[in-house]
């Protein structure tokens, strides 16, 4: 019972409560409650559901930046790949279903589509790692951040126009995944698909968190994001960890794309909107901070819904951009702090 250990716990708590992150969360909760009193539970429910949707993509982006040091502007294209694969799987199976009737299949088809999309995303990520990032890593590591940023721009151009070339520019969408009726929560009606997306993202976040915390590969990924040289010294194979990170991140993005197919039909540049959203979230939360990205997703969703409700449709680019510019001016490391090496070198 030394005087030191006695007041250590209250001190840490004190410090955490006063940090920028805690203050922002507190303000966001206050705003949510105030808007609920003003306009009813619509805003709160919508924020939670939309935030869950964006959290997956934002976490993938934060992971890629934190571990591989790559500011990926091609992240939205993996969303597009996911929605494309899911569309083709689901419509093909639906047509098969029209001819033969198999019990339980209508319920499982969307899940198969999402699973196929996740796998496709992982494969696309692996291809990018082998063909694009690995050769650059072998050649030179200087100016890595800016060079990979431009590389991902090139990747984005190729994927968008590749989609246009091979699959055409039509909107490939479905009306809904399941035909179940809307669910009522606190007076607001939410379609079953959106609720499922929220539940799926919560499950995915829990799986992701336990993977990172308890499995060896997850711990290896965290080690590489903290200190690359140290990880090498301990015997972690950097190449396979980078590949694994990119696969996981792109798989998450593709899963987000597949699960949102009913809302975002698949067309070449469908990934750009989610890309800008993910970047808002990642910058607000701090580059490379995965947990912060998950929380930041809800804050940005709240902000966007408030903008739509109080100011009007279509300002969705102007006002969040202004907010991000403010954040970058006054606190570039983000609200929850960024945990990335190598941001400050050229």
């Amino acid at each position: 019972m030394t005087p030191h250990s006695e007041d250590r716990v209250p001190n840490i708590f004190h410090h955490a409560v006063r940090s920028a992150g805690a203050i922002t969360i507190f303000i966001a909760l206050v705003i949510m409650v105030a808007s609920a009193i003003d306009k009813g539970p619509y805003i709160v429910v919508n924020t939670i559901v939309t935030g869950g949707m964006w959290a997956l993509m934002a976490m993938g982006l934060a992971l890629v930046f934190g571990v591989m040091n790559v500011p990926s502007f091609a992240h939205g294209e993996f969303f597009m790949i996911g929605s494309l694969v899911s569309f083709y799987v689901v419509t093909t199976l639906n047509e098969y279903l029209l001819r033969t009737s198999v019990p339980l299949l209508p319920v499982i088809i969307p899940l198969m589509g999402m699973f196929a999309a996740c796998v496709a995303g992982c494969i696309a990520g692996a291809l990018c790692e082998i063909m694009v990032f690995r050769p650059l890593r072998r050649r030179s590591q200087e100016q890595w951040v800016m060079n990979t940023f431009l590389l991902t721009l090139g990747l984005s151009i190729i994927m968008i126009n590749g989609h246009q070339l091979v699959f055409g520019t039509e909107f490939k969408g479905i009306v809904s995944y399941w035909d179940f009726p809307s669910v009522e929560i606190l007076g607001t009606y939410i379609s079953f698909d959106r609720l499922f997306v929220f539940v799926l993202s919560v499950i995915a976040m829990i799986c992701f968190w336990s993977f990172m915390k308890f499995s060896r590969s997850g711990q290896a990924i965290r080690a590489v994001s903290q200190d690359e040289a140290g990880a090498l010294m301990v015997g972690i194979n950097l190449d396979s960890i980078q590949m694994l990170t990119l696969c996981v991140s792109c798989g998450l993005a593709a899963l987000a794309g597949a699960s949102l197919l009913f809302m975002y039909p698949s067309y070449p540049s469908v990934g750009l909107g989610p890309l800008y959203n993910s970047w808002f979230i990642v910058i607000l939360a701090g580059l490379g901070n995965v947990a912060g990205a998950a929380v930041g997703a809800f804050i940005v969703a709240l902000f966007q819904i408030l903008t739509t409700v109080y100011i009007g449709e279509g300002w969705g680019f102007v006002i969040p951009s202004a907010l991000i510019i403010l954040v970058l001016t006054f606190k570039p490391s983000g609200i929850f702090g960024s945990v990335v090496r190598g941001i400050h070198d050229k």
């Binding site: 500011p71 694009v132 050769p135 650059l136 050649r139 030179s140 951040v145 800016m146 060079n147 940023f149 431009l150 590389l151 721009l153 090139g154 990747l155 984005s156 151009i157 190729i158 968008i160 126009n161 590749g162 246009q164 070339l165 520019t169 070449p268 800008y276 970047w279 910058i283 279509g314 300002w315 969705g316 680019f317 102007v318 951009s321 202004a322 991000i324 510019i325 970058l328 001016t329 570039p332 941001i343 400050h344 070198d345 050229k346």
Partner: protein, 353 residues
């Protein structure tokens, strides 16, 4: 002869570039090129080249990729168009009035990105560009939004040839001005800031002043070019400000080699003609030209990051033969060296006889 070389060296042009510019200037009257659609391609190619010069001023020298560049071009374009359409001014006044708001916003951007480095500055300019595009879309009372703002053209002719010469003059002016700045002590300061900020500060360079100056000048030229675009094309949509257009300029600059103002300009014209050729000849495969240039960007970034300028510096610039020295360097010392070289060779030949 030496006097001529001195003069053109003062405006930082080499004999090779003068030859190039003259041949470019004669192009629209030469038979295969005097068809209207080809002249249009050439005009847009030179427009891209001028943008590349202004873009490289920021990205090559202070190492900040101004990702919202085309938003500044679009800002100049919209300003000029709005002034001409709503305030009934002449398009020529609008062309020069478009410099002001772009320079002002460039100044603000420089101030905003003061404490940011590398990726943060690029992302900030990205969001500024996005915000500008959103504003242009939403403020329909001013900009007619996505429906398009029609504005009168600079000249009453329907031929593209006068516009070709106007934009050629604009590009040459931009290059000479920016190269003059780069050659002065300001340019040295830019390079110091771009390469190692701490060392620059230690040497007593105040990065604030130089960064703001760089942004303001680069965006002023962007606005000026935007004014030309508005009165050449005649219709403006918020798409003009999109990131895709900035990426076009960026690809040209990177293939040409960043840090050399002329690299992007030299590459832009053949590049634009090649992409337009692919686009118009392969109608069943839309977007193939863009896939090719994404591929090009990736290949250059991985395998040849220095671009064409690096090829030039490694192979041509270092050659010992007198004719390349005269053409490419055009300098007095180069000419004297060439003379010495020739004399040495003659002496060597005489010795072996």
């Amino acid at each position: 002869m030496i006097g001529f070389l001195k003069v053109i060296d003062k405006v930082s042009l080499t004999p090779l570039s003068i030859l190039g510019l003259i041949s470019l200037g004669v192009l629209p009257v030469v038979p295969p090129f005097n068809q209207e659609y080809l002249v249009r391609w050439l005009t847009m190619g030179i427009f891209l080249a001028a943008q590349a010069v202004a873009f490289d001023f920021t990205s090559g020298f202070i190492s900040i990729v101004n990702f919202g560049f085309c938003a500044f071009v679009g800002l100049g374009a919209y300003t000029s168009a709005i002034l001409v359409v709503r305030a009934e001014l002449s398009p020529w006044i609008g062309l020069f009035a478009s410099i002001l708001p772009a320079a002002l916003l460039g100044f603000l951007t420089g101030v905003l990105t003061l404490r940011l480095r590398g990726i943060f500055a690029a992302v900030t300019t990205f969001f500024i560009g996005l915000a500008l595009m959103g504003l242009a879309t939403k403020w329909v009372f001013l900009t007619e939004g996505p429906l398009g703002l029609n504005c009168p053209t600079l000249l009453k002719t329907s031929s593209n040839v006068p516009y070709f010469y106007i934009v050629l003059v604009m590009m040459i002016v931009a290059y000479i001005v920016l190269k003059a700045v780069v050659r002065s002590h300001i340019g040295l300061a830019f390079q110091a800031i771009g390469q190692n900020m701490e060392a620059a500060r230690t040497s007593g360079i105040n990065p604030t002043r130089y960064r703001i100056f760089n942004f303001t000048l680069s965006c002023a030229f962007a606005g000026w070019l935007g004014g030309f675009y508005a009165h050449y094309v005649g219709v403006l949509t918020p798409d003009v400000m999109s990131t895709a257009k900035t990426v076009e300029v960026l690809v040209a600059v990177y293939i040409g080699g960043r840090g050399s103002l002329w690299g992007g300009a030299a590459v832009a014209i053949p590049f634009l003609c090649a992409t337009e050729l692919v686009r118009s000849s392969l109608n069943e495969l839309p977007g193939l030209n863009l896939v090719m240039y994404g591929l090009f960007l990736i290949l250059i970034m991985i395998y040849y990051p220095g671009g064409i300028a690096q090829v030039y510096r490694k192979f041509l610039y270092k050659s010992k033969h007198p004719i390349p020295i005269l053409l490419l360097k055009g300098s007095i010392s180069g000419l004297q060296k060439a003379e010495n070289e020739m004399l040495n060779r003659l002496a060597g030949l005489r010795k072996t006889e």
